[in-house]
């Protein structure tokens, strides 16, 4: 029972990371397109400035929770995905630096340079995170010690000897890029005044159709590639609630976009991402890292979890800790609510 509970706790924390850091990654993706002048770019950055760092903490906190609750999974997946994770680290470093350093100097070389670094690293991170999810769904070649190592690519086929990148994981990477691009565009539209708002809306609208089309493709392909998904939904039909949530929210995005209600469109996008992620998580449950070689070598919540005492005592510090963290977020987002404005920079 405890492993199941911690599995869902970790899943929710990672989902929190994706929907929160997802919008500032998305804002980064569209940064160069929606904001032309320095003033407009400061506006986009300011819409995420006070919160992006806290959003990223969900990755660290989720990672830490994964580490303590499922140490064998952490050990296996982090060493197996060695190269892409290191690249994710480099991208996170570049991105964090660009957000923090850009404002310090105002000239025609410094700021545009950091703008480009910010935007590129955001885009690549979205693709990497998508590809990582694709790898988990596809499965990895685990050995009997629960270890594996994946090169960046082999023949781009999701076969017995896959790489991190194959056509399937690249597809998921592109899908994640578009989903977060839409997510970020809706956030920027909500937080900024015209003309940045108009440009963000103009991006979100066509991207919706691409996301909708790819959602169908990704679903069909994933069910073919990972038979466990179909099994899970056949076994526990209640699980259809997750894809249903995704579907309804996807439609919600379009409806609220049409009504020009940016906040509700953004919140729908949050629910859409949560719906998609929980569908995947539910589909592979109780596996956490499927083996594509011999299914019996897969890591599950049962063979990868920490012993019971640790999981039990963990609830005692986790529950107050996460409530306090939720309170900070409520406070912070309230404090910085509403549209951003920028004044002339005074020196």
């Amino acid at each position: 029972m405890l492993p199941v509970l911690w599995f869902w706790i970790v899943a929710v924390m990672i989902a929190m990371y994706v929907v929160l850091d997802g919008f500032d990654l998305g804002a980064g993706i569209i940064h160069l397109a929606v904001a032309k002048t320095d003033e407009e770019r400061r506006m986009v950055l300011k819409s995420i400035g006070p919160v992006w760092d806290g959003n990223e903490v969900w990755l660290l906190a989720g990672g830490g929770t994964l580490y303590f609750a499922f140490p064998a999974l952490y050990a296996s997946s982090f060493s197996g995905f060695y190269l892409p994770l290191m690249m994710v680290l480099w991208l996170l470093i570049l991105r964090g630096t660009s957000v923090e350093f850009r404002s310090h100097i105002r000239n025609a070389v410094w700021r545009p340079m950091w703008d480009v670094i910010f935007s590129l690293s955001s885009a690549l991170l979205a693709i990497f995170f998508g590809a990582a999810l694709g790898n988990v769904v596809r499965g990895v070649p685990l050995n009997d010690k629960g270890e594996f190592f994946l090169p960046l690519w082999t023949n781009f086929q999701p076969g017995r000897e896959p790489g991190i990148l194959d056509w399937y994981t690249i597809l998921i990477g592109v899908y994640a890029f578009l989903v977060l691009m839409q997510h970020g565009a809706l956030w920027v539209a909500y937080k900024t005044p015209s003309p940045v708002q108009d440009r963000a809306r103009n991006i979100a609208r066509p991207v919706w159709y691409a996301v909708a089309a790819l959602t169908v493709v990704v679903t069909v392909v994933s069910f073919r590639l990972q038979p466990k998904l179909a099994e899970s939904f056949a076994r526990w039909p209640a699980g259809y609630v997750f894809p249903l949530l995704a579907l309804v929210s996807l439609i919600g995005i379009l409806v609220f976009e049409r009504k020009q209600d940016d906040l509700k469109a953004f919140l729908s996008s949050m629910l859409f991402i949560i719906g998609m992620l929980t569908s995947v998580v539910f589909g592979v449950f109780p596996m956490v890292l499927p083996a594509n070689t011999d299914p019996s070598l897969s890591l599950t919540i049962y063979n990868a979890s920490a012993p019971e005492y640790g999981l039990k005592v963990g609830l005692w510090w986790f529950t107050p800790g996460v409530l306090i963290a939720a309170f900070y977020f409520w406070f912070l987002y309230r404090r910085f609510a509403g549209k951003v404005t920028v004044e002339q920079e005074g020196y």
Partner: protein, 456 residues
């Protein structure tokens, strides 16, 4: 030689050493900024608010570099040390996850408010934000030190049927007595860095005849904090930490002092080069009995030498361990001398006019970085050959699935990237120092900082 293992070790050592350059200043400045904000609130004097704003700008640059270089640390437990993580993640994962929940969320939320929120929070709210950032960074340090302390002196565990490490008492993990003194010593080290940097900047400004009123504030606060912290680093924190090493890691203590042969009235080596092959000290400069006194408070007590331990339990790099320890202690002694002299001059009202003392304070500012690094090297090299003292050897903990070629690739990547970050960071901090305190209302150290936020 096992190059894959050496690369994993150097990978972690390099990234953590670089990360800690920023962490130590964060730990010290967080406290000093909070003190400045408190003085501003109590006196109502805008001068202290301006001083706090200036240091917050530098804090922000430093903190950002600390954050971006800190994320790789958590990842590396899994990427480079997967066998260790699999074995011990169920134990130390508690303190690491608690750091995320109890410290990072606090710091990241309130740093935003400290940087952007002075106008919307008001004086008391802004003071609270500085308190939250200080408390958050110090909680973070505790949980990381507790993690390290468990590796130095594992407690609260039992071994399962197959020899696996099982958490048995969360309480003894989090409140390890090793963690208490190691934490106190670490924190005091951070305050020393903050105090030397602040007084060094004050000294620089006075020598340049710039921002003199601020310079005097920086010197007053920096030297006062510096004299307290420098003394606390020796006694009781350093002293107690040494006693713990003597008690739980006797082989480490012998190696730190290059004490090869067991004997009574063991000397302390002030200078000299250890020759591990011949088991002697070249060019020794000794004070007899001091090592005995430090470890058991008796001048003639017996101290076990390395000969009392099997050679495969000796630390693997005895010369480096020895030098790291001696550099830390030597610099610590210099810090006490510099800060006590400065403090006496400050009390007598002569510090601000004493050119030699100001020069010394300015030039000493980088030294705490060396001392803190040497201190951590002492702890980490001293733990060898163990990854978890007495439980798991370092050679058993690395990721066996990651080849040396891949580790080398990412090591070079980090080295290149961190070189650029260091240059950028120094350049930007230098700009802030050159710009100086006093101008502007909100810190420029944040994106679009001159802007205000409209509440809807």
């Amino acid at each position: 030689m096992d190059i894959a293992l050496d690369l994993h070790r150097f990978h972690f050592a390099f990234t953590v050493t670089f990360h800690y350059l920023f962490v130590q200043l964060t730990l010290g400045l967080a406290l000093l900024i909070f003190i400045l904000k408190t003085m501003a609130l109590r006196t109502g004097n805008e001068h202290y608010n301006q001083a706090a704003r200036f240091w917050t700008k530098i804090f922000a640059i430093n903190f950002a570099l600390g954050v971006v270089t800190g994320i790789p640390m958590e990842f590396q437990f899994g990427t480079n040390w997967s066998r260790f993580s699999k074995a011990a993640g169920g134990v130390i994962g508690h303190t690491l996850a608690m750091e995320g929940l109890y410290a990072f969320f606090l710091e990241s939320s309130f740093l935003g408010l400290l940087l952007f929120g002075e106008k919307i929070l008001g004086p008391v709210g802004h003071w609270l934000a500085s308190l939250a950032v200080w408390v958050g960074s110090w909680i973070s340090a505790y949980l990381i030190v507790a993690t390290n302390a468990w590796m130095q002196r594992p407690t609260g565990y039992r071994l399962g049927d197959k020899g696996e490490i099982l958490l048995d008492s969360w309480w003894s993990l989090v409140f390890n007595d090793w963690a208490f003194w190691q934490y106190a010593h670490t924190i005091v080290g951070g305050v020393i860095t903050g105090a030397f940097v602040m007084s060094g900047v004050g000294a620089l400004y006075l020598l340049l005849n710039r921002h003199e009123e601020f310079a005097r504030t920086f010197l007053r606060l920096g030297v006062t904090a510096g004299v307290i912290a420098s003394i606390l680093a020796l006694f009781p924190t350093g002293d107690q930490q040494g006693m713990l090493v003597a008690k739980y890691q006797p082989a480490t203590l012998a190696a730190m002092e290059a004490h090869f042969k067991t004997g009574e009235a063991a000397p302390m080596i002030i200078l000299g080069q250890p020759d591990v092959e011949k088991q002697k000290i070249d060019n020794p400069f000794l004070v007899p009995g001091v090592l005995s006194f430090i470890t058991s408070k008796r001048w003639d007590a017996e101290v076990k030498g390395l000969d009392a331990f099997p050679q495969d339990e000796w630390p693997t790099n005895i010369p480096l361990l020895y030098y790291a320890f001696h550099i830390m202690v030597g610099l610590g002694t210099i810090f006490i001398a510099v800060m006590v002299l400065s403090f006496i001059q400050l009390r007598r009202g002569r510090l601000f006019d004493s050119k030699p003392m100001l020069w010394i304070l300015m030039l000493a500012a980088p030294l705490p970085y060396v001392a803190n690094t040497a201190g951590w090297m002492t702890a980490e090299l001293g733990r060898q050959p163990w990854l978890i003292y007495g439980l798991m050897r370092t050679a058993e903990g690395s990721s066996s699935s990651v080849s040396s070629g891949n580790t080398m690739f990412t090591l070079l990547g980090f080295m290149g990237m961190y070189t650029l970050l260091l240059m950028l960071g120094l350049f930007m901090i230098w700009r802030e120092l050159d710009h100086g305190p006093g101008a502007g209302v909100e810190p420029a150290g944040a994106p679009a900082a001159a802007d205000s936020v409209a509440r809807s």
